[in-house]
Symmetry: C2
Subunit: 207 residues, 2 copies
């Protein structure tokens, strides 16, 4: 079955207002898993929501995310450059509304953990906070900071140092089930989805 | 509520076998929307599955994806360099098993559309195929090809030329609903999830 769909040249969207266009365009890339990025220590401690976490490679274990242009104050980015360590904390159905609230424009002195009511956890030898409410913590060390010349965003790449997962997963051959973890996917800047596992498919071979 | 989770240093995973480690590590970044990338014309026509589509920016409208190291033959990458145009086609519940099958190692002469049974659609002035079964087509033109030095993967950035969406969405202020579209998210290389919309949240402001 093919679809009754209509092609629209990007030109046509020029009469949408700026916010409408941005919201629409932000959704093209699909509903992607939400993570809170924890950075900084003491007065610099910061928590921010992202849905651009990307797998870069397994050997060495690298993850990336997209940082918007740093022409304005970006607390997450500044902290990563300063402390080198940062954390990805999976957002779940249990606290996604608090996680969303971290996107408010708090000033540098305000600590998002306190402002939104999430629990900051600190781990030995890691110079970044973690989110107590999250069942999946990934600790990273800055590996590369690549400027994307097309629009001055940046691809920030980190090497995974350690991960924290529910103890029960050990019996499951370390296979993460994102329905069980209650992972939330975010489309655009505002729409939240939960996941239901449909099927695991085998490694595909030519038939 | 905080979780009963356990921190594991990456060192500890060294005794997992290579495939287990890769499958485990591939899942850290979460369940991400699956897209088929259509490239090439005539004998070069190719279709490949990806879940690393990333929003780069709205002005100009840019999307990226991660291309694994090109030290082996990569038909998608070669076609993008040759034809400059390529398409992202959202994978839905209606054809995700066929989409998965495109990941089999077909040789350069084999056309994945025919091998897996999906419909190639061609659009005027665009040098790439689209997937008839998909309700969301994004046509792109190569904008930048950035090598990630940490592991020789590449961030391929494309400028969106046009999009095709269901006609009904026009009445919806161009807001894409990924539950309605039946978008499928992929974790690791094998686990497929569907999405259920939970809530739309307002633009957050400090309280």
């Amino acid at each position: 079955m093919t679809h009754n769909i209509e092609t629209i040249e990007l030109e046509k969207f020029k009469n949408l207002d700026k916010q409408e266009f941005t919201a629409f365009f932000n959704s093209f890339s699909g509903a992607k898993p939400g993570y809170l990025i924890g950075t900084g220590q003491g007065e610099d401690e910061n928590l921010a929501i992202f849905n651009s976490i990307t797998h870069i490679g397994a050997r060495p274990p690298l993850l990336g995310f997209i940082q918007r242009p740093t022409t304005v104050d970006r607390h997450t980015y500044q902290n990563i450059l300063k402390y080198k360590h940062y954390s990805f904390n999976l957002i779940t159905e249990n606290f996604f509304e608090k996680a969303h609230q971290t996107s408010a424009r708090y000033s540098k002195g305000q600590n998002e953990f306190k402002e939104v009511g999430l629990t900051a956890i600190h781990k030995k030898e890691l110079r970044c906070p973690f989110v107590g409410e999250s069942p999946l913590h990934i600790a990273l060390e800055l590996d590369d900071d690549i400027e994307i010349k097309s629009n001055q965003t940046r691809l920030i790449i980190g090497k995974v140092i350690s991960i924290s997962i529910p103890r029960t997963l050990h019996n499951n051959k370390y296979r993460l089930d994102f329905q069980e973890l209650k992972s939330m996917s975010i489309s655009g800047l505002s729409d939240y989805y939960k996941l239901t596992k449909v099927k695991s498919l085998n490694y595909a071979k030519p038939q």
